[in-house]
């Protein structure tokens, strides 16, 4: 993947708003432009109100409902490419945010015991309402400095090997595994190749296929190719509403098949990469709805929904024996593929 930022700043605009008590920076994607001006109006109005001369309560209410309506309008008619943009929204919650919201306790465990500690994949033991789980996920950075530190969520082989180490530990102690997927791809670097990026992903697939404890996979942002699947083979796979999961990013697909970077919208359409597409292909087990405006517009609500879903799914698979888990996985993945048999 060549996309370090996942989004290009020229297509975004920023609005610093004191809407809520704390200072937040609102980021608007190109298709959210109508919202930006409404929020600006709201801000001006609130400033006026703060000066105290006029009663603006009704006006604010009216404007807020207009915003809500507009949001709904925009968000029910999103194109596939717009959903890709949302999956990469810079304010979107990432793995560690969800872990902190979902787990009462969490102990991050570092390192692959072979070479190093990858910062683009995090993992550790935690509890979800009393149940111990091993949570593993890709981690993107929350600001420019951290994005670099996290290598933009692009793991090196050590990340996949750390994930495998943690999964084997989970297996030993009969602890279920939860994977949160959010990556623009495995890192295509020189050292990554030297240390066996392909081998790291391949052996993860091999081990996950026969892990004796349940594995639940959630795509929470970008699900790009082998880098995503490297921690994505399990008993159940779910996607948050505005995420994507496929074999290549729309940009790279465009550059290879159309021989230009410009056909990414078209590539996104052709790839049929959204959660809805994936569910219709029966390649995933379900979709978790996001708040209107996307996960980042109400991260707490999103985390609550995710927690509820994880708890319910863990209960579903809790009584399965290792043999049942492994055989079901085998049957499930064996059934993936469409072809003609003469």
């Amino acid at each position: 993947m060549i996309f370090f930022f996942g989004y290009s700043t020229d297509r975004l605009s920023f609005l610093i708003s004191p809407l809520i008590n704390r200072l937040i920076i609102m980021v608007f994607l190109d298709f959210e432009q109508p919202l930006e001006s409404l929020y600006e109006q709201l801000e001006t109005l609130q400033k006026l109100g703060a000066e105290g001369d006029i009663d603006i309560t009704d006006k604010v209410k009216e404007l807020e409902s207009t915003i809500k309506k507009k949001k709904k309008e925009i968000y029910t008619e999103l194109t596939r490419w717009q959903k890709v943009q949302l999956s990469r929204h810079p304010s979107r919650p990432y793995t560690l945010y969800y872990i902190n919201q979902i787990c009462k306790r969490f102990t991050e465990l570092h390192g692959d015991r072979k070479f190093g500690d990858d910062k683009a994949i995090v993992g550790g033991l935690g509890t979800i309402d009393g149940t111990t789980v091993m949570i593993i996920g890709h981690q993107k950075g929350v600001n420019t400095k951290m994005r670099q530190y996290r290598n933009f969520g692009m793991a090196n082989p050590e990340g996949y090997r750390k994930a495998q180490r943690l999964m084997k530990m989970a297996e030993k102690f009969n602890i279920p595994v939860v994977c949160l997927i959010d990556t623009p791809g495995a890192f295509p670097g020189l050292e990554a190749e030297e240390r066996g990026q392909a081998e790291a992903i391949a052996t993860n697939l091999f081990e996950m296929a026969q892990l004796k404890v349940p594995i639940l996979c959630y795509v929470i942002g970008e699900g790009a190719s082998g880098g995503a699947l490297g921690i994505g083979l399990g008993d159940r796979t779910y996607m948050l509403e505005f995420t994507w999961y496929t074999v290549i990013s729309p940009e790279s697909c465009s550059s290879i098949l159309w021989r230009t970077w410009d056909n990414k919208e078209q590539a996104a359409e052709a790839l049929k990469l959204t959660s809805e597409d994936m569910l219709s292909f029966e390649l995933i087990d379900g979709i978790i709805q996001e708040p209107i405006g996307g996960a980042h517009s109400d991260p707490e609500k999103m985390a609550k929904a995710l927690k509820k879903h994880i708890k319910a799914t863990l209960a579903e698979v809790a009584d399965m024996t290792p043999d049942e888990l492994i055989n079901n996985r085998l049957e499930k993945y064996d059934g993936m593929g469409r072809f003609v048999e003469a």
Binding site: F187, L205, A209, Q210
Partner: protein, 285 residues
């Protein structure tokens, strides 16, 4: 008379009068530039007689080298379908049609069962000439069925990889073939049936990140390109030139990802040797 005019008679043929040489009669070596007749190369198993460069060959060439003419194709009735109605600059249907026409193959992998010195072996071999040896549903399914066949007949499996990676025109379905093939190979492994992964030029992308790296024994031909990301992408990422020999067989051997490198002329003997270490239960065959 000009300097360049040939003096002797009979060799002043006009270009237009030149005798035609049939297309594909000569082949040039990519590595040393030497030119050889196809016949010459065929005798040498498509290895350059001068520099040992291993030409890219097809699945049936490998079957012939290893099994001779006695082998049986399996699962050749499975073909690809443009179920996503994919079109880029060309439609997937057209790509499939022209690949079939060009190669006379049903898809990017062919499976055959045969014998190496009386020891049975199933070989699934990929063809780069079929849409870059890309892995779609058919490649995954044929590998899955090969595994089933090998379990049923207690026969060792070899996959000869030669692929640019997953087939984009099948989108997420092609990605899931990584999971499918790995899951099936895990099943084969639990049955303690040996799996040899033979990586040939080129083996990259999703194929390397799944079955190609999962052999009990991994080996390759000399100087084959093997990697996860393609060299061009890596070069663009790190904005530096790549070192000489990067992502070649010798590099992978050096970094611990291959058991050995094998010259094409030794392939059959080495396979015979390998198979002899894993005597299979005769009663079940």
């Amino acid at each position: 008379m000009g300097w360049f005019k040939r003096l002797r008679e009979g060799i002043q043929t006009q270009t237009s009068d030149k005798k035609e040489v049939p297309d594909g009669f000569w082949q040039k070596c990519k590595s040393c530039g030497g030119t050889f007749t196809i016949l010459e190369l065929e005798k040498n198993l498509f290895v350059c007689p001068d520099c040992d460069y291993h030409f890219r060959i097809g699945s049936h060439d490998y079957f012939n080298i290893i099994f001779g003419s006695r082998y049986k194709l399996l699962f050749d009735n499975i073909t690809s379908l443009n179920f996503l109605e994919w079109t880029d600059l060309k439609s997937y249907d057209d790509r499939l049609e022209s690949a079939k026409e060009l190669t006379s193959l049903s898809d990017a992998i062919s499976v055959a069962v045969g014998k190496v010195n009386r020891k049975p072996l199933v070989i699934a071999a990929m063809d780069f000439s079929f849409i870059g040896g890309s892995m779609g549903s058919v490649v995954g399914e044929k590998i899955a069925r090969s595994v089933d066949y090998c379990i049923e007949h207690r026969t060792p499996l070899m996959i000869i990889s030669k692929s640019g990676g997953a087939r984009m025109m099948e989108s997420a379905f092609s990605l899931m073939q990584l999971a499918k093939t790995s899951t099936k190979l895990a099943q084969l492994s639990r049955e303690a049936i040996p799996y040899f992964s033979f990586l040939t030029d080129p083996t990259t992308g999703g194929v390397t990140a799944s079955f190609a790296m999962l052999g009990d024994i991994n080996f390759s031909e000399p100087k084959a390109l093997i990697g996860f990301a393609g060299p061009r992408v890596i070069k663009e990422t790190i904005k530096k030139d790549l070192p000489e020999g990067f992502q070649r067989s010798e590099f992978l051997l050096d970094h611990g990802f291959l058991d050995f490198i094998i010259h094409r002329s030794e392939l059959k003997d080495r396979l015979n040797e390998l198979l002899s270490y894993f005597p299979m239960d005769k009663a079940a065959q």
